[in-house]
């Protein structure tokens, strides 16, 4: 699976899609592969304030429970409710139907710290070569 060029990425393997002041957040294809079959997704509540680099929720797979970190600060506007019953969507379509939350971005400048698709793929290459 390729990494969409219109997304921005974190070193913790989250992606962000910016549309105006709204950002959609999910985990990358690499992350879902490493996690394996996902069995539970814990998300924040609508209206919660998120701070960049702090956990926004957790994803439980058959292998492990992993925190998901907020790529940017903001207020939660929507969560992907269908993940409650069908967490496997994060495995099958991590960059699309498997999105986690939408937030209203608090500080657009924070996106400068995120990686482009090319930079993220180079980062993955480097991580795996290790």
């Amino acid at each position: 699976m390729s990494y969409p060029s219109e997304f921005l990425y974190t070193k913790d393997h989250e992606w962000v899609r910016l549309e105006g002041e709204t950002a959609t957040i999910g985990i990358t294809d690499y992350a879902q592969k490493e996690l394996g079959d996902i069995v539970f997704v814990e998300l924040p509540k609508v209206g919660d304030h998120l701070k960049a680099a702090e956990p926004l929720g957790a994803i439980e797979s058959v292998k492990a429970v992993s925190d998901v970190f907020a790529p940017i600060s903001g207020t939660v506007e929507a969560i992907n409710a269908q993940l409650q019953d069908k967490p496997e969507i994060v495995n099958s379509d991590p960059h699309g139907e498997g999105w986690l939350i939408r937030v209203r971005v608090a500080d657009p400048k924070e996106t400068e710290r995120l990686m482009t698709a090319d930079a993220y793929e180079a980062y993955l290459h480097q991580t795996q070569a290790h």
Binding site: D37, V39, F40, K63, P87, E88, Q128, H130
Partner: protein, 498 residues
């Protein structure tokens, strides 16, 4: 499976119904003698509380019960059936001598409320076990109370907190390397601290510069496993300890990997202030389902007042007593004095081996791990350079190119009659294969294990899908772990009788 590879044993391939499903209405396992007292009516005596049976309760004969559970026991794999190379677990042989000693009448049957004057033998066992563990670690005092390693961690961090609090500031953080056991950050959190992760460097060790940056005056302690979970000795431990101490913090050592050090190096000598031991790992007491565990905590003198209460002491007249008058103690962490039977077994092991024997145990464990590493590194990737200590960590990087991951290789290993190694841990190695042979494995058994893993590497080159479908010889093969976790069925329900 390659015919030239000897398997350790065939897997028993048979199915077994549940004991409930073996039930026949009216069958009874016991034949009671005729009543020699007047018959009473339970329905009359109990009124509305009376019931005349338990729904779904199995009705089986004695021999059916014995055979059912004996058959189930043959499916088990334990340290008595073969090499158990589960990394980070030290699944070594539990000598029969331990069991013989633990069953001595005075030790096995004494009640914990026996008056001290009549329990001097048991108290002597506790006192002497603690003394031996203090000598082995170089520490000044030991509590045998904690029931397992994680409880030992909690006890140790709570003592650090008590000591710092008394000095005016408990501080906020505990530094935990990213290679640590998951219990470390958990114990830190339960103790009211926040865990700050430290990244390992390219040699798989903690980085002194990284530690220096993180070690502020708000850090209570460094919590370190040595050797670490990559099986590598943190050679800069003395510099690290000096740095932590200079900034007012303490050093906690997770002693899970003590099987690499006993009789060779003492943690107290390299700067550790408090640590736990796992008697069920290093000191041959039963591990896992056969437990219970035991996680004694050892401390330097300045932390002694904080040990869990009571402590075992020798009085001036030579008798041993339990001292409950411990105003600074963090309190009791376990009923009575911990899992006493484990102290008996550990002491039997320590005394049977003696100092020379314990040292040889350590050297053999390290030699075995390095032998496995040397014989496998040409077929499996080695992420961090050798030598290792008591365990080695390989990875599935080469096999992953063919879609075969560490868990698949482990499942195929079952077909060869071996218990799998630890998969996917430590987390800093993608596709980790963590192997701890312990000193219990002979060279012949190690060679069989190595041959199995080499054969699996060849199989992956020839036909990866065959390995991906393993195990092939067990009663059940690939289980649907995802559905089991997503839609768990948490108990068996009796189906209506036909």
């Amino acid at each position: 499976m390659k015919s030239r590879v000897r398997t350790a044993r065939p897997h028993v391939n048979q199915n077994e119904a549940l004991i409930f499903e073996r039930s026949t209405p009216g069958k009874c396992g016991v034949d009671l003698p005729p009543l020699d007292v007047p018959s009473a009516s339970p329905a009359e005596a109990l009124g509305s509380l009376y019931r005349d049976g338990i729904e779904g309760f199995p009705e089986v004969s004695e021999v059916e019960v014995v055979r059912h559970f004996t058959r189930l026991s043959t499916w088990n794999y334990g340290v008595d059936t073969g090499i158990y190379p589960l990394g980070s677990c030290t699944m070594k042989y539990n000598p029969r001598l331990n069991e013989a000693v633990a069953r001595l009448e005075g030790l096995a049957t004494d009640h914990p409320y026996t008056p001290e004057t009549l329990a001097q033998g048991c108290l002597q066992v506790l006192y002497q076990t603690a003394e031996c563990l203090a000598e082995i670690t170089g520490m000044d005092a030991v509590s045998l109370q904690p029931a397992a390693g994680a409880q030992g961690e909690l006890t140790g961090i709570l003592m650090i907190r008590a000591w710092l609090t008394e000095r005016g500031n408990p501080r906020r953080y505990v530094l935990v390397p990213d290679s640590a056991h998951g219990t470390n950050p958990a114990s830190v959190a339960i103790s009211g601290y926040q865990a700050l992760p430290l990244k390992s460097n390219e040699r798989g060790c903690l980085d002194l510069r990284e530690l220096s940056e993180a070690m502020t005056d708000e850090v209570a302690a460094l919590m370190l496993t040595n050797p670490n979970t990559l099986g590598i000795f943190e050679a800069q431990i003395q510099e690290m300890a000096a740095l932590v101490h200079a900034r007012g913090g303490l050093v906690y050592m997770d002693g899970a990997n003590m099987n690499a050090l006993v009789g060779v190096a003492r943690p107290a000598d390299f700067g550790v202030d408090v640590m736990h031991l796992n008697l069920h790992k290093t000191f041959t007491t039963p591990h896992g389902g056969g437990g219970p565990g035991s996680g004694p905590v050892a401390v330097k003198k300045f932390l002694e007042p904080y040990l869990p209460s009571p402590v075992v002491e020798r009085s001036s007249d030579g008798s041993i007593r339990l001292n409950h008058d411990r105003p600074k103690s963090i309190g009791r962490v376990r009923a009575f004095y911990g899992n006493f039977g484990m102290a008996v077994r550990a002491l039997a092991y320590i005394l049977a081996n003696g100092p020379e024997g314990l040292r040889q145990t350590t050297e053999d464990a390290v030699l075995n791990a390095n032998y496995v590493l040397a014989r496998l590194r040409d077929v499996y990737d080695l992420p961090y350079p050798p030598p290792c200590m008591h365990e080695c960590v390989l990875s599935d990087r080469r096999q992953a190119a063919r879609g075969v991951r560490t868990g698949d290789i482990a499942k195929r290993l079952i077909d060869y009659g071996f218990h799998p190694y630890t998969t996917s841990f430590p987390l800093i190695v993608p596709g980790a294969m963590m192997i701890e042979p312990t000193e219990s494995a002979s060279k012949e058994e190690l060679d069989e294990f190595i041959a199995a893993l080499r054969s699996i590497a060849e199989e992956i080159e020839e036909d990866a899908s065959f390995v991906l479908q393993a195990p092939h010889t067990t009663r059940v093969s690939r289980l649907d772990e995802a559905t089991a976790a997503r839609k768990p069925i948490l108990r068996w329900n009796p189906s209506p009788r036909s």
